[in-house]
């Protein structure tokens, strides 16, 4: 009987995912477009979705050493399907997917920012498993180990190494309508957006030949799409905040070439209980306080900003985003896409009330064109 129910649920699920007689929507290159009818299934949806063009697993967070030194980190695994006909590959050296990965560490005490990028193709040295979370890019790996615990093993150059485990302090949440986050007016400009807003982070940090125990908190996004932006959009500003009161905030502002925010920009609150409340750009204000110009790329980033609006309970808020250091730009030596992504503090009335990671894209390159 139990089996019969399971099979019944599975069949219903499959039908809803791809209703009989209804072909899934696809892009011109035959990549699937995420739909709002998807029923998420785990651990399957932790893993890769190769029928979609773009996918990423994005970890950002802060941890501290027992001595009090604070560190910010970013670990990103991208999958990007090649255009059909990229060339003849093989199982070990595939030409179906490009796996990009970015790893960064901000050392607040020493005011040092190190990062590394990697490009690999699907095959022996990079893959994203289907069915569960198991990612590799060179010797960088991210895996689910048990239940919802994940392990990251990564290095930056020869002097920085991170071995971290992540355990959810809160359940995962889904942004957008039934997990479908609209990013623009184009039908294909959307993604499935799955997030762990607060992960307890523990592990070791190897730095300059010494290994230290660290602990902190992190944020993880897993997005699946076939086109992230509309044609007129050039980039986005993204912010994730973990407040001390155990609530979280996520914001993305999609910009056009003139710098105007797109109506699809979104502010989302995750309450202490894990409820998600989302609102459009009419309900918040994003004010640039100061900028920083990269000596490397010449791009000018709005790294000091003020965000104001209303909380889910209707009360007003005004927070200031203050980066730990301004030079937290990833230079894009490989793919040519440079962006700023850095550890920040959140200040309210002059007091630090949370930690944040802010991402500023499209200031050095037109990201919209790259992600079409």
């Amino acid at each position: 009987m139990k089996h019969a129910i399971s099979i019944y649920i599975l069949v219903i699920g499959l039908c809803l995912q791809n209703p009989v007689g209804v072909r899934a929507a696809t892009t011109d290159e035959a990549f699937r477009i995420p739909s709002a009818h998807h029923i998420f299934s785990f651990p399957h949806d932790y893993g890769s979705h190769p029928e979609f063009r773009i996918e990423w697993w994005y970890l950002t967070g802060q941890f501290a050493a027992p001595a009090g030194d604070r560190y910010g980190f970013q670990a990103t695994f991208f999958r990007y399907a090649f255009q059909p006909g990229a060339g003849a590959g093989s199982d070990a050296f595939g030409t179906n997917h490009l796996f990009m990965a970015h790893m960064a560490l901000t050392d607040e005490t020493r005011e040092r920012f190190v990062h590394e990028e990697r490009f690999n193709r699907d095959g022996w040295d990079a893959f994203a498993a289907v069915g569960d979370l198991d990612l590799r890019n060179g010797n960088w790996t991210l895996r689910r180990t048990e239940d919802e615990t994940m392990e990251l093993s990564a290095s930056i150059g020869v002097d920085t190494r991170m071995n971290l485990t992540f355990t959810p302090a809160k359940s995962k949440v889904f942004f957008g309508e039934n997990g479908l986050s609209k990013k623009g007016a184009d039908a294909s400009a959307c993604s499935w957006y799955i997030t762990y807003p607060r992960l307890i982070t523990e592990g070791q940090l190897g730095l300059d030949g010494k290994t230290i125990d660290v602990s902190g908190e992190a944020w993880m996004d897993h997005e699946i799409s076939s086109s992230q932006l509309s044609r007129d959009q050039v980039g986005w500003d993204w912010l994730s905040v973990r407040f001390e009161d155990q609530s979280e905030l996520m914001l993305y502002i999609l910009r056009d070439a003139a710098g105007r925010p797109d109506p699809f920009s979104t502010l989302a609150w995750v309450t202490k209980e894990g409820d998600v409340h989302q609102s459009g750009p009419e309900n918040f204000s994003w004010e640039v306080l100061d900028t920083w110009t990269s000596p490397e790329t010449g791009a000018t980033y709005p790294v000091h900003v003020k965000l104001s609006g209303r909380r889910p309970d209707g009360s007003p808020f005004m927070i200031t985003v203050r980066p730990w250091m301004e030079a937290q730009e990833l230079h894009g030596k490989l793919g040519g896409i440079s962006y700023w992504e850095g550890a920040c503090d959140i200040l309210e009335n002059g007091r630090v009330t949370g930690k944040a990671y802010m991402e500023l894209t499209g200031y050095a390159n037109d990201l919209g064109a790259a992600l079409q």
């Binding site: 003849a88 022996w124 060179g138 030596k333 793919g335």
Partner: protein, 872 residues
């Protein structure tokens, strides 16, 4: 020597002695500088050419991705694809880059640029993951420069990168198509990127093609393996520590699966394989330098003679002998500096030609290397410069001593006739040297590197015989008057010239000695080349008997990685016009740390190729297809393998194959002039299985009676345009041409030897007559006509040349024997049949005597015009 030197005094003496002379006799000063320059140039050019030839072995992958710290491969230089993720997991905790590499060769037909006789260029092809290699910009930011490709190019796996050197050579550019033969078929490649040369990318100076790894695997038919994996440790403060950790992890790998190569193993393999060849060249160039030294010594000594008067006057005036010696040495030093500097420039220019000759030889015998120019090397330049200056000072020190120590009265008295330098010239000493040489020739080879023998005894013997013969030939001049006097009893010029040999001067002996050395060297090399030619001709006659020979296009050495696929060789074997085929498979492996070739033959002949020349014929095992009951297969090995590894019939050895360690029993030893590495020849099917590769290197087809070889050839070429199909006649001609190319450098050195001999003769005659200018002027006043003086000089010069020539030719027979049976055999492991090149030696004799005659005429005419009172 220069302690408490009064420099003002030294300068005054230099001004009086040397600079005055240089101003008044610019020609002779220039000639001396030119002599030094020539000696230094020959030595420098050979050194540079050697360096350049070896630099071609450097791994292009290194220059693309940064220098590898470790290189791993598997048995038979193959790493199965399944091992790649295993290696990654084994290395996981370490932030190292793993770079799989496949190497290939592309033949570019129809370039119009004939290379090695083929109208086809062969260039190295490297298969790398064109995407992953871009990560090196983070791993080795200071070294990697592959990321010169722009962003829209990096994801194109179907186009190739070519180096600027190749692009310029073929006159192609980005976006063009490049037609090459890869594997056994022609393919058209899209040029996606032209890699610009840069100090960070030294390999880009060579002609290379960079292809995405899986694409190259498919083209080569080797999708199941890569050739090697290079491990690169990122730059950083912890690199040293990480290096140790990588070593630990590598040590823990399964040794039956992984073999660690040194990161510069290509260079080392190249160095090791060509060590004997390069050393031979260097020694030959040193001999050229030694002959140059002799010329310098002679020229300096002549200068002392010429300025005896001045030296005598200075000594009479109270100048200390020490000052004279110092001034003389400083003059030698200045000549050395000027000559060596000029020699470096000349040598560098010569090297551009020499490098082609060296590379041609290396290409034929060892690997394909596409180096075309020798780069300037400061280390080499300094060393050679120091050697040139040192040699000059050394050469100047003997005459300087002579000038300073002879009492003034004696100096002035001897003005008219100088004794010249006294070298150890006792006949007993010369004979002793010959005997020592005989014993030295019996010494076994000394191993300079593993598997790289150096015939030290052979060279010692050569030196002893050269010196011994030079001494004895000089002494032999004494017998000239008695032997020759009756020939023209009433000829005054004849008598006058013979009278010179009754009181032999050191200069006469030295001239003969120099000629003996130069002629001996040149004729000895000619004998070696001729013997080689004869042996190879005989070998080809025996070995090449089939009607058609098929191979992939390109230079047919073991470094050509293109192979004939099984589909194609089966197709050719089943052609209705074919009676039978011999199909050859070849694999290069490491055996006792040196590369050897495992050759498999599918043949109906007993030992694959009916006409092998046996050094030690097989017995007991009747043929190549036999597998003995004890389970150990038999093989026949080439003579160079047997010599290099000191193994013979009946012995067993083990090799590592992708299928594991395999034992082989030696059934016989055969002569093979095809390669120096050493070949193990055995059953083709067995070898294919061991190396999991059924592709063939070549195929020899015997056609059915009545079949038209040319027609079949045309049919095959049309069907398989990637293959080179030659008729028996064509292949014989090709093989002979290739073998002759291997002696390109030797020919050049031989030519230099002859040039030096003739130059030395001219200089010596000039010097001898200059010294006797007073005597000649007196003879004129006594009634000798100009014509008689010219005749006397011609006779004297010809007699000296004849003595040197006869001595040199006798010496050349001994040297030829030494080169063939000792030096060559110990270096290369080849047995050659001794053959004297009568016609060539006659030509050499004619050249030397002709040069002597012409020089005698010129110098004699000059001497006949001298006036007795003329002062320098």
């Amino acid at each position: 020597m220069f302690r408490n030197v009064r420099w003002d005094m030294l300068l005054t003496m230099l001004r009086c002695l040397s600079l005055r002379h240089a101003r008044r006799a610019p020609f002779s000063t220039g000639a001396m500088i030119a002599i030094v320059a020539l000696g230094v140039a020959v030595f420098f050019s050979v050194r540079l050419a050697n360096r350049a030839a070896i630099s071609g072995f450097q791994m292009f992958a290194n220059s693309v991705s940064g220098t590898s710290d470790f290189v791993l491969t598997g048995p038979g230089s193959r790493v199965p694809m399944a091992e790649l993720p295993r290696l990654r997991r084994a290395m996981d905790p370490l932030p190292v880059a793993l770079i799989p590499v496949v190497e290939g060769t592309a033949t570019i037909p129809g370039t119009g640029k004939v290379e090695g006789g083929f109208d086809a260029a062969q260039v190295g092809v490297l298969g790398l993951d064109l995407l992953a290699v871009r990560n090196m910009v983070y791993v080795r930011p200071a070294q990697s420069s592959i990321t010169t490709a722009s962003d829209d190019e990096f994801a194109r796996f179907d186009s190739v990168y070519i180096t600027r050197a190749l692009a310029d050579w073929l006159e192609v550019q980005k976006g063009d198509k490049l037609s090459v033969v890869l594997g056994d078929a022609p393919v058209s490649l899209d040029i996606g990127v032209v890699l610009e040369p840069s100090p960070l990318l030294p390999g880009s100076r060579e002609k290379r093609i960079l292809v995405d790894l899986p694409a190259l695997q498919k083209l080569m038919g080797t999708t199941d393996h890569v050739d090697r994996i290079e491990i690169i440790v990122p730059e950083g403060q912890q690199s040293e520590e990480l290096y140790g950790l990588v070593e630990e992890r590598i040590a823990a790998l399964d040794p039956s699966v992984w073999t660690v190569l040194e990161s510069d193993y290509h260079v080392k393999a190249g160095q090791s394989m060509t060590a004997a060849f390069r050393l031979n060249l260097t020694i030959l160039s040193v001999l050229a330098l030694l002959v140059g030294l002799y010329l310098i010594l002679q020229a300096m000594e002549a200068a002392v003679v010429r300025r005896r008067g001045e030296i005598g006057i200075m000594l009479s005036m109270g100048f200390e002998p020490g000052w004279i010696r110092r001034a003389w040495l400083v003059e030698s030093l200045l000549l050395g500096v000027a000559g060596s500097a000029l020699g470096l420039l000349l040598g560098w220019a010569l090297a551009q030609g020499a490098v082609r000759a060296v590379v041609r030889t290396v290409n034929t015998l060892y690997f394909s290397t596409t180096v075309e120019a020798a780069g300037w090397d400061w280390g080499e330049a300094l060393m050679v410069f120091a050697l040139g200056v040192g040699a000059c000072v050394l050469a100047g020190s003997i005459p300087a001593h002579d000038a300073a120590t002879t009492p003034p009265v004696q100096v002035l008295r001897r003005q008219g006739r100088g004794g010249g330098v006294r070298l150890p010239d006792h006949p007993a000493f010369g004979s002793l040297l010959l005997v020592v040489g005989v014993f030295a020739a019996r010494m076994p080879a000394f191993e300079i590197a593993e598997g790289a023998p150096f015939p030290v005894g052979g060279y010692v013997a050569a030196l002893c015989w050269l010196a011994g013969a030079a001494i004895l030939a000089g002494r032999a001049l004494v017998f000239f008057p008695k032997m020759m006097a009756p020939l023209m009893e009433h000829d005054a010029a004849w008598k006058l010239s013979l009278s010179q040999f009754r009181h032999l001067t050191g200069r006469h002996k030295l001239t003969v000695a120099g000629l003996v050395v130069a002629v001996g060297m040149a004729a000895g090399m000619e004998t070696l080349i001729h013997s080689f030619d004869r042996s190879v001709t005989a070998w080809i006659g025996q070995a090449l008997r089939a009607d058609l020979f098929v191979a992939v296009k390109g230079i047919e050495n073991a470094s050509n990685r293109n192979r004939i696929s099984e589909r194609v060789w089966q197709d050719l074997s089943n052609d209705p016009d074919v009676e039978r085929t011999d199909v050859g498979h070849i694999f290069r492996i490491e055996f006792r740390s040196v590369p050897i070739l495992i050759q498999g033959m599918r043949s109906e002949d007993a030992w694959g190729g009916a006409g092998r020349i046996w050094v030690d014929p097989p017995s007991g095992i009747s043929g190549i297809s036999d597998v003995p009951v004890d389970g150990i297969p038999s093989a026949v090995v080439s003579e160079s393998f047997a010599n290099r590894h000191r193994m013979g019939s009946g012995e067993q050895f083990e090799i590592q194959t992708p299928m594991g360690i395999r034992k082989i029993r030696i059934a016989g030893v055969y002569a093979d002039y095809g390669n120096e590495a050493g070949t193990v020849l055995m059953n083709g099917e067995l070898v294919s299985r061991w190396f999991n590769d059924r592709r063939a290197l070549n195929l020899a087809a015997t056609l059915r009676p009545g079949a038209d070889a040319d027609a079949v050839r045309q049919r095959w070429i049309q069907k398989h345009p990637g293959l080179a199909v030659r008729t028996n006649r064509d292949l014989r001609a090709d093989v002979m041409r290739i073998f002759r190319q291997t002696f390109a450098v030797t020919h050049a050195l031989k030519a230099i030897g002859v040039l030096v001999a003739v130059g030395g003769l001219a200089l010596a005659l000039f010097s001898l007559l200059f010294e006797r200018r007073m005597e000649l002027a007196t003879m004129r006043q006594l009634g000798f006509s100009r014509r008689e003086i010219v005749k006397a000089v011609v006779y004297e010069g010809s007699a000296v040349a004849l003595a040197g020539l006869v001595g040199g030719l006798l010496l050349s027979i001994a040297l030829g024997w030494l080169l063939i049976f000792v030096i060559n055999k110990q270096s290369f492991g080849w047995t050659l049949a001794f053959a004297v090149p009568v016609m060539n030696l006659a030509g050499l004799a004619f050249a030397v005597l002709g040069a002597a005659l012409l020089t005698g005429l010129g110098v004699g005419r000059w001497a006949s015009l001298l006036k007795g009172e003329r002062e320098e």
